[in-house]
Amino acid sequence: MFYLGMDVGSTATKCIVVDGSGTIVGKGLARGGAGTKAPAAAEAEALAQAQVSESEIETICATGYGRHLFDQANMEKSELSCHAKGASRLFPGVRTVIDIGGQDAKVLRLGVGGSLENFAMNDKCAAGTGRFLDVMAGVFGCDVSELSDYDRQSDHSVSISSTCTVFAESEVISKLASGESIYDVAAGVHDSVVDRTAGLANRLGIVPPVAMTGGVALNDALRERLEKKIGYPIQTSELAQFNGAFGAAIYALEA
């Protein structure tokens, strides 16, 4: 039998199918969250990749902000526990997980066995989240996936002092208007996210080894800046964005 984890997030829906040993056999990702067609699309993609039909799925566990709205789910778990569970499999022995998603940023402390021990989350503010980077990419006229390359072409980071996303957007525009290079401003945007994330992590207390998940983990330049800031190497995985769904699938398997 197979087990399915569905992470219905704020900007994207991720789906993972695992087999009876917990090995990933299919994954799907669709733009959009709860109330959109994204959950069905992500599920269809994952099932197709796994070459598994719906009837072969033993248990479905939903997580993420739209977890209550995914009717097919047999169970639900908070994204906090799912991220902890997924990370403990993706990064065996990890003790601190930094997850930056579309709507929130969180830092999780895992126990020695991989269980969630404590967590800290951002307050009701988009600063330091994927949304902040989306807005800034919009100002730069690029895709958010290009920000890492922009940062790598930077000579120096231009300080972005505003913490509010709207204020920071104005500040970025004024820096660009005053002749600062787009690459240096992009580096400054990354530093702004890094400062906020490091503050959140320090509030909880960082215990190594550290891993990073969520879509922003794929931004290499930002992750490297964060490593320097917190003083620890940060592991990541190409499955970083699927970590919550993977954790949910493991919960479904263990149920």
Partner: protein, 409 residues
């Protein structure tokens, strides 16, 4: 895990009736031409009560208005018509709006407009400007007692003298405003009742220490209104005695107003999110979580016999004390309440006290080895709360407490 027989509290209704009567008798008194004071929650009410002055509480009124769904309308009136920033405390905005309108949108919690205002800042420094503004806009007298934030652990004599001097001045002011002499004998009687009410209130809060508790901790948020508004009244004493007798009965009969298994017990820190009282309570209840520790008990339980002792008591208000003392108090309450975790409200309306919270939460979590999580919200402005974010944080907290409980088995 022990499931008790669900019970309905009769005594709780008696307590609620005392709170309601504070408003009703003030409305009646105003009709009869008597003077009305608006008073901050921890002003030494024994002084105006000894004068026989009718006092009503803008903080309690704002809480009631927002719990009944009119918080946003009142806040928007304060912002759009009176020009107040939405960064100002929502209680203050609702109060200023009520002073301007003289009524609620749908009669949520009416009370008579004041002839004077009595302000003490031992619970919050925003009180100063809030009450000064009320006095100015309504053109009425203000009596102000300044209890500075105490950055030391204990209350020293210098501080007591400073506050005591202001009590004497407040009495003189009130004698002038009301045109009557201060009756010391009456004052002593009121102090006696107030101390007894404080003791009974504290006793009521301590029943939550029973495991499982005979009532749901959110009940305290409502019953607190009597401890706040009617500390010097005999009716309050009788109501709390009845409530406590009911608690004893519930314990004997294995009953509780908390429905379902009390799987976990937590500390709730901060003012309730009144506009979302149902959501915040049900989320916890549905996950088997009861609030068995909160600072409301000692916040409104004072014991004193004279003005000097009263000065010391009012200077020891939990919100006027330093981080170390505030943390110690909460840690003691957590231990008494046998909690498995803590939930802290980062209250946008209460910036000063919320700024304490991350460090206080960190220390409590470290010292007691329990998870303590925070959520963003507001005591009265519904625009500053996200239900889904609250649910996610509570669910995370519960999953950690579940995991800890399994480890302990």
């Amino acid at each position: 895990m022990t499931e008790l027989t669900p019970a309905k509290s009769v005594a709780g209704k008696v307590v609620a009736a005392v709170a309601n009567n504070v408003y009703e008798s003030a409305i009646e008194a105003k009709k009869n031409g008597e003077k009305i004071a608006w008073i901050s929650s921890n002003f030494p009410q024994e002084i105006p009560t000894a004068f026989g002055l009718h006092c009503v509480y803008p903080e309690s009124q704002a809480a009631a208005i927002s719990a009944k769904g009119a918080g946003q309308t009142m806040c928007e009136h304060a912002e759009n018509e009176l020009g107040l920033s939405n960064d100002i405390c929502a209680y203050a905005r609702i109060s200023q709006a009520y002073a301007d309108l003289g009524k609620c949108p749908n009669g949520e919690r009416e009370m008579p407009l004041p002839d004077l205002v009595l302000c003490c800042n031992n619970i919050c420094d925003c009180m100063f400007k809030w009450y000064e503004n009320l006095a100015r806009t309504l053109n009425i007298p203000i009596v102000m007692i300044d209890v500075p934030f105490n950055n030391k652990f204990d209350v020293d004599d210098k501080r007591i003298k400073y506050i005591r001097g202001q009590f004497d001045q407040a009495i003189k002011q009130l004698e002038g405003i009301l045109g009557q002499k201060f009756d010391e004998k009456k004052f002593e009687e009121v102090c006696k009742i107030s101390s007894q009410v404080g003791e009974e209130w504290l006793k009521a809060t301590k029943y939550l220490n029973y495991k499982p508790a005979p009532y749901k901790g959110f009940d305290l948020f409502n019953h607190m209104a009597v401890a706040t508004m009617a500390r010097g009244q005999k009716e309050s004493l009788e109501a709390f005695k009845e409530f406590n007798a009911e608690c004893e009965q519930f314990i004997k009969e294995h009953k509780s107003t908390f429905k379902g298994d009390e799987k976990h017990r937590i500390m709730f820190e901060g003012i309730a999110c009144w506009p979302y009282l149902g959501v915040t309570y049900k989320t916890l209840k549905n996950m088997g979580v009861n609030v068995t520790s909160c600072v409301y008990g000692p916040s409104f339980a004072f014991t004193y016999k004279n003005l000097d002792e009263m000065a010391a008591a009012y200077a020891s208000m939990p919100n006027a004390t330093n981080l170390e003392r505030a943390t110690q108090l909460r840690e003691e309450l957590c231990q008494e309440g046998k909690v498995d975790g803590g939930l802290v409200h980062i209250n946008r309306s209460c910036k000063m006290w919320s700024s304490f919270m991350p460090e206080m939460a960190r220390r409590i979590s470290r010292d007691l080895d329990i998870p303590v999580v925070m959520f963003d919200g507001d005591q009265s402005d519904p625009r500053n709360f996200s239900e889904e974010q609250y649910v996610t944080r509570v669910q995370g907290l519960v999953e950690i407490m579940d995991s800890n409980a399994k480890k302990g088995e």
